[in-house]
């Protein structure tokens, strides 16, 4: 179970290969990569700056990962989240889960992302031609998290 909050980029291929070869009990590795889009709310985004709360961020991600492990049979998991100034096409986040079978890994990966979106203390600020603005939290992200509470996954 690995959590990294960093300014540097990451190589998903290297990370996934490491999770795959770590154990022959791994039959599936599922991952999600989030990257910076060039247009948001109709405006061109030149820079996306990510702020976080050092200390609490790691604690929050650890708690989310622990909850995923309690729900599903996971061999290993990885969360890498970047902070600082990013440009369109830059990678923001990598979540990966390895398990014996694909069902567990798919669900756990989506669960971790959905919880990260509404619980982990990160904040995005966009620089556009019309100035800087903080990204607003979206109701649909809350909805995505809440559905895990009502389903028996």
């Amino acid at each position: 179970m690995t959590i990294r909050v960093q300014t540097e980029d990451f190589d998903a291929g290297v990370e996934l290969a490491a999770m795959r070869v770590a154990s022959a009990s791994v039959g599936a590795v599922v991952n999600f990569i989030g990257q910076v889009r060039d247009i948001n709310g109709g405006d061109m985004v030149s820079t996306l700056t990510l702020e976080h709360y050092p200390g609490m961020t790691e604690r929050s991600l650890e708690a989310i990962e622990a909850e995923a492990r309690a729900r599903w049979d996971i061999v290993s998991s990885l969360i890498i989240h970047r902070v600082g100034a990013l440009q369109p096409l830059d990678q923001i986040v990598l979540v990966a889960v390895a398990s014996a079978h694909r069902g567990e890994a798919f669900k756990a990966c989506e669960f971790i992302m959905d919880y990260l979106k509404v619980q982990a203390p990160f904040w995005k600020k966009e620089s556009t031609l019309v100035g800087e603005r903080w990204v607003e939290a979206k109701t649909r992200d809350n909805d995505a998290q809440v559905r895990w509470k009502s389903k028996n996954n």
Partner: protein
């Protein structure tokens, strides 16, 4: 009681602080009382902490509700809803 207060993102910019140490009066012993205490600082603080905006609160890295009690040495953080990922 002495506590440390941190502000993040939009809230940090509004109040122009990222962190401050506050010596609280004896009757300010919950999050809701701390918010009322901060509201008295002026318009910017009143706008933030009188309920018009969604403000999340964490004590010692744990998200908490406004009724949570404060203790000596606590690290209290105020921040807007998160937008990572």
């Amino acid at each position: 009681m002495n506590i440390k207060v941190l502000y993040f993102a939009r809230i940090k910019e509004s109040v122009n602080y990222s962190t401050e140490d506050i010596a609280l009066p004896i009757d300010v012993d919950t999050v809701v009382a701390l918010k009322e205490f901060l509201v008295k600082r002026g318009e910017v603080w009143a706008d933030l902490f009188s309920g018009k905006q969604v403000v999340r609160v964490a004590i010692n890295y744990e998200l908490v509700d406004d009724i949570m009690a404060l203790n000596e040495g606590d690290e209290v953080a105020f921040f807007p809803p998160v937008t990572g990922g």
